[in-house]
Amino acid sequence: MTLPAISVRSLVKRFGTATVLQDIDLDVPEGKVSCLIGPSGSGKSTLLRCLAFLEEASEGMITVNGEALGFFENAKGERERLPAGQIRAVRAQIGMVFQQFNLWPHMTALGNVSEALKTVHKVPKAEAEERAMVQLAKVGLANRAGHYPSQLSGGQQQRVAIARALALSPKIMLFDEPTSALDPELTGEVLNVMRELAAEGMTMVVVSHEIGFAATVGHQISFLDQGRLLFTGAPSEIFAKPRHPRLEQFLDTYLDRGASMLA
């Protein structure tokens, strides 16, 4: 078996006195699409944000392609913070897509996608923009390069955000409810871009309420409830014969809403 792209061990996340993630163990297989599902407040977004190091786990370890993210266990078995440069190097393998797109409103689509290439990687402007155009073309927005985010639809903005993350050639892409802020007509274009990405063999972790997407594109589904990872398995296991009563209950609400053909 190959090394998992991301491996999470005994992760705990507390906000003050509230424990929002408890004893999470998860392996994200390389080149596959892993989906995190669960009810609101189950901790799936927090878990994803821990993987992006936007939240620092309170306990436990995360490794990305074998390298520790943020913290490592020293010789005495204590948890120790890694130097900032090392944290940045590991984070560079990861691209993040947010529910609210988080495009920078004062930059055009091209500016958003080429920004990190220019400022972080010191790529000359012309070359950075050329590489950014390749990514914009990939998400079908080459003809919108000069538009500001305010001039784009929600779906287009999210595709620009995906292009922005892809421009840095990450090994892993994290998606935090990428279609939740979009109306149903626009979710399709974003999910299509994600499907293409999955088909290319990108390692993806997707937090989503799009059970249909999870069932058809996901290779591994993890179900969280109340901060615990209750079940991880293949979509067929999860959706065809949900073994866990809580998962069954959760899926029922979706089946009720017309997703029964998935079962």
Partner: protein, 222 residues
Amino acid sequence: MIFDPNVILKHLPEIISGTGVTLALWIAGMLLGILIGFIVATLRRYGGRAVDLPLGFVVEVLRGTPFLIQIFLVYYGGPFVGLSLDPVPCGLLGLSVYAAAYYSEIFRAGYASVPHGHVEAGECLGLSRLQIIRRILLPEMALIVLPPSVNLAVILLKESAVLSIITVPELTTTVSAIGSQEYAFLEAIFLLAVIYWVIVEAAARLGRLAETRLSTFRFAAS
């Protein structure tokens, strides 16, 4: 009493010089205030409670006491703590610090106006804290901080008249002296009002121009 414009013409060189001192102190005080205010707001944002609380206290004291009292304290109290300053540097120091307190609050609001997700997006892409400030936070807050900054600039210009009490040879000092010397108090006061108002009006127009330029340049209308 008859309004006599000849008094003004007679003392034109002094009036021009006084206006020059006022403009110089105002612009220098404002620029230093913006610089220090920005640094204070940035330190308060990133420095943790140990930095935020004491700086916040200083800002509150500066905003909670009259500028007149602050200037008196620095000019007459300064020598007791080894800070003996001539009127002009003392005035500049006072004006800059006073401005910095208010500008720091404007920048604090500016920082708070940028959605945190925009910063997180930058972090995920590897931008350093400084790059995030320079490339994301400052440009995004520009439109938010511009109107209150222009407003503060106008207030500062008028507050600079207070510097006449420590004999800074600025506009109010100069024109008041002419008034006393020529027994032309009304002309002097009237002239002062006109000159301040003209500068304020020019500053406000400049501010509005900048605002329009910035909004069309930064966020193209959809």
